[in-house]
């Protein structure tokens, strides 16, 4: 199998323009003859539904939440990048492109990233026109802040709730289309399989989470906008409902899963406090603009109250190790540094798994009022969860799983190797390489939905004009529905003695320990030995009560965890096969004498796209070589 990314010819900065100039356009009166199924209503899904609906396509949109407004994009705090250069500080499309490629440790596709940087400015225009209340200066113009991995101020924000405001903007535009009748919304509806007709994605099988009804929807193309798979770790900053089911079931139907081992550990989360914990709470990375990260220099100081530790006994390790970026070093590097400090026995708080994020200097410099204005809601959240006042004593933070750069393989059109199946936002693999920079996820989700898919969907659909439409009564739909029903019955029939959560927790711990911030051959091999055994136990000993034909949250969870139990193995395989360190993938065997990631461009400058080969067969890896024509694959340095 050869993967063709279908990257347009021509100079890098002309590719997207020339693509648009020559893309196939479907005339307005024909658009309504096509039905597009969109799964997920986060930034990517909602913006795609709104835009495609506006253009006149028939859209059917699905989400597992009770309202499309609750998709997890809503929780993004810090901001959204755009190459507006409103600060006159030297930003440009090229610089945003380069920062993103470099931030991704030279493991992303040049052409996709450049397109992302190009459309970034239009996203801000679009959102402001929708009424997104971005932060402003007193003069009335938009304000910006700095973010990790960049030396310019290009991040737009709405207090600590940027994701919420951007999502509500897209949700509102989609609501307008629902009212207009172009978009039909199905909340509390979960996709459980992809339906292929003659090799093309032509439908999905869903479960109505209120009635338990299993049914099919047919369309001319399917867009998966279902987010990432961070919950394979059990504890993550994702919402508890986030899952890999849609993309994994598509993978089992033939879609290639690319770079599953690229996961991002966010450096600034509230540390774990006990084994009852159900999720980890992120504190926006923007806090690192004004907060200084430190641990005691001496292990014996760790038990002391922070104010009792004098300045010269503190190790501001990011400032020490990376003087030019300091506390704004990218996420992977900051996370690993915190882990190293804790592994060295200098962590603070319960279990020694925490480092300080100190605002004393910022409060002295700016006054508490300004700090409150910038981060007030985050301080409040921290106080509520930990019972501590961060204006008076430094926050304790520790890295947590936050984002997954891997996802279904897509070409330049955002179409997977399965014709008709398009993948947008975090669910695809395309733009962030091995590590994502802060404030770039929101940018990608909206870029894909508002400005990319509306142009690229025509390339696929135009070839299908006038062809026979699939019907939900056709055999492929019936077969897929039967498979879904059988799986549901199988879950209910086990009647074992262990809860779904206990399996999920155990899986999460294996993945966190062996495929988390640091990975090794022996650890990954151990995980690959344990996960299949755990999966086997799941199918013989899980206890799911209730029925399939009712509202049943235990059943929903069981289905998702059963997919994580397969997916976790794929992730470890990918991590084991990549004998190098890059971005969020840190293999302990491959590091420089100073402990930095050691990339191997000669042998691993490729996208690893995995092909499902059947239940008990090892997946095979299809490689898409990454060709860098415009940037040099340098060693990533933030010193």
């Amino acid at each position: 199998m050869i993967l063709d990314a279908k990257i347009p010819a021509g100079p890098l900065d002309q590719k997207w323009t020339s693509y648009k100039n020559h893309a196939k356009i479907i005339n307005p009166s024909n658009k309504r003859k096509f039905k597009i199924l969109i799964v997920g209503t986060g930034l990517a899904g909602a913006s795609a539904a709104a835009t495609l609906g506006e253009q006149g396509f028939q859209v059917e949109c699905f989400c597992y939440q009770d309202s499309p407004r609750r998709a997890h994009s809503i929780a993004a705090q810090g901001g959204i990048n755009a190459a507006k250069n409103y600060q006159n500080d030297g930003d440009s499309v090229y610089r945003l492109f380069y920062d993103t490629i470099k931030g991704g440790d030279f493991r992303a596709r040049e052409a996709n990233v450049h397109r992302l940087a190009e459309v970034s400015a239009a996203i801000i225009d679009q959102c402001v026109a929708q009424g997104v209340p971005f932060a402003r200066e007193y003069g009335g113009l938009l304000a910006n802040r700095s973010f990790g991995g960049a030396q310019v101020s290009r991040t737009f924000y709405a207090r600590g709730q940027t994701g919420q405001q951007l999502l509500l903007g897209a949700y509102q535009e989609m609501s307008a289309q629902i009212a207009a009748g172009t978009v039909k919304m199905f909340p509390r509806t979960e996709m459980l399989d992809l339906v292929l007709v003659d090799g093309h994605a032509k439908g999905i099988v869903v479960r109505d989470m209120v009635t338990g009804e299993i049914r099919s929807h047919a369309g001319d193309a399917v867009l998966l906008c279902t987010g990432g798979y961070g919950n394979v770790f059990y504890l993550s900053t994702n919402a508890t409902g986030c899952n890999v089911t849609a993309t994994y079931r598509a993978h089992k139907r033939g879609a290639l899963f690319a770079n599953p081992c690229y996961t991002q550990i966010h450096p600034t989360c509230i540390p774990v406090s006990g084994d009852y914990q159900s999720k980890l709470t992120l504190m926006s990375e923007s806090l690192r603009n004004d907060g200084r990260v430190w641990v005691p220099k001496r292990r014996e100081d760790c038990g002391k109250a922070p104010h009792e530790i004098p300045e010269d006994a503190r190790d501001y390790f990011l400032e020490r190790k990376y003087p030019s970026y300091g506390n704004l070093a990218p996420r992977d590097i900051s996370s690993r540094s915190a882990k190293e400090a804790c592994d060295d026995g200098r962590g603070v708080g319960p279990g020694g798994l925490g480092v300080y994020l100190d605002f004393a200097e910022a409060i002295g410099r700016l006054g508490q009022k300004v700090v409150e204005e910038r981060y007030g809601n985050l301080f409040e959240m921290y106080g509520n969860i930990t019972g501590e006042n961060a204006y008076q004593r430094p926050m304790r933070i520790y890295p947590a799983v936050h984002y997954t750069m891997g996802g279904l393989w897509v070409d330049y059109n955002l179409m997977s190797n399965v014709p008709g199946l398009h993948v947008l936002g975090e669910a695809n693999f395309s733009d962030h390489g091995a590590n994502r920079l802060g404030a770039s996820a929101l940018m990608q989700g909206l870029a894909d939905g508002y400005f990319v898919i509306p142009y690229t969907i025509g390339t696929y659909l135009s070839a299908h004009f006038g062809k026979k439409k699939p019907e939900v009564t056709d055999a492929p739909f019936r077969d897929a529905e039967k498979a879904v029903r059988d799986r549901t019955q199988r879950l209910l029939a086990v009647k074992g003695s262990r809860s779904v959560d206990s399996f999920h927790r155990e899986l999460g711990l294996i993945i966190w320990n062996q495929c988390g911030m640091a990975r090794s051959q022996s650890g990954l091999e151990e995980a690959l030995d344990r996960i299949p055994k755990l999966r086997e136990e799941f199918w013989t000993n899980v206890n799911v009560l209730g029925k399939g034909e009712t509202f049943n949250q235990s059943l929903e969870k069981a289905g998702r965890v059963s997919d994580f139990l397969e997916f976790g193995e794929l992730m470890c395989r990918d991590a084991l096969a990549r004998n190098e360190s890059c971005g969020g993938h840190f293999r302990t065997e491959y590091q420089t004498p100073e402990g930095e990631a050691l990339r191997d461009d000669e042998n691993y400058s490729y996208v690893a796209a995995w092909k499902y080969e059947g239940e008990n067969a090892a997946p095979t890896c299809v490689k898409e070589p990454l060709v860098y024509e415009h940037v040099e694959q340098s060693t990533r340095s933030y010193k």
Binding site: T51, Q126, G131, R136, F551, N552, Q553, S554
Partner: protein, 252 residues
């Protein structure tokens, strides 16, 4: 910590519900309210009792999914979402009553989960700026004073959880509706559709079965996003003006 829970159980939308009593034992004080329910559910599962269904998702106070009435108060003591409530706020051996959000337009689906689609339909009736993707002018072409943008943001912070309607003796959704009307009506981008928006949204709210505001301020007291009830006054003013214009046939 140990508690006695009185939990509302209801097998489906058209079945009568009832309270069941369950013990919650050995709960860490740092556990959140929802984590306490997770622990109780694990225990129920072990006894062969179907776990209690309740809505939750982000568990960080922003998605607006969680929707429990705790001891009669939507989201319980303190002004935050249910997921941001921690057990240290309770006393050991407390008896805690847990119900779904109660409002006629929010029918119970099962146990503690309710259907809040009425809120989505209110937004669909006018809670947006009718603007096409790709047709926007440069973002800095219309300056908006920081003071105005800040008030718009105060309103836009609404998480759409429905606690306002659940707390109101009239099941009024006016805090929710006025937050969207205030957010969009304050900004230059939202002004062209201001009059039509307020008329449509208020009428949809009425049709969905939400009551009127009679100044109890219970909504404001429970709102996790801190939306001030002053937005209701703002909406009433906009509504009065728009309906007067409509009556005399002025262009809206």
């Amino acid at each position: 910590m140990n508690f006695t829970l009185r939990i509302w159980r209801q097998d489906g939308p058209s079945v009568e519900g009832r309270f069941e009593e369950y013990p919650a034992l050995n709960i860490p004080e740092d556990a959140s309210f929802l984590e306490m329910l997770d622990i109780v559910n694990e225990g129920l599962l072990g006894k062969g009792v179907e776990p209690v269904n309740f809505d939750h998702d982000c568990r960080e106070g922003i998605c607006g999914t969680c929707s429990l009435t705790i001891n009669g108060v939507p989201h319980g003591p303190d002004r935050g979402t249910t997921c941001q409530l921690y057990m240290r706020k309770f006393q050991d051996r407390d008896v805690i009553t847990i119900e779904p959000f109660r409002a006629a337009p929010f029918p119970v689906l099962r146990d503690l989960a309710v259907n809040r689609s009425a809120f989505d339909r209110i937004i669909q009736s006018g809670g947006f700026v009718g603007e096409r993707s790709g047709s926007a002018p440069d973002a800095n072409s219309v300056p908006i004073p920081k003071t105005i943008a800040d008030v718009a943001m105060d309103a836009a912070a609404c998480i759409g959880c429905g606690a306002c309607a659940a707390a109101c003796p009239n099941s009024s959704a006016m805090l929710f509706v006025s937050a969207k009307i205030g957010h969009l009506g304050l900004l230059p981008q939202g002004k062209p559709e201001k009059n039509r928006r307020v008329l449509k949204m208020v009428r949809t709210m009425d049709n969905e079965g939400f009551g009127n505001c009679s100044n109890y301020y219970a909504c404001e007291a429970v709102c996790p996003a801190g939306i001030p009830a002053a937005f209701i006054a703002r909406m009433n003013r906009e509504y009065t003006l728009a309906s007067a214009m409509e009556t005399v046939g002025a262009p809206l």
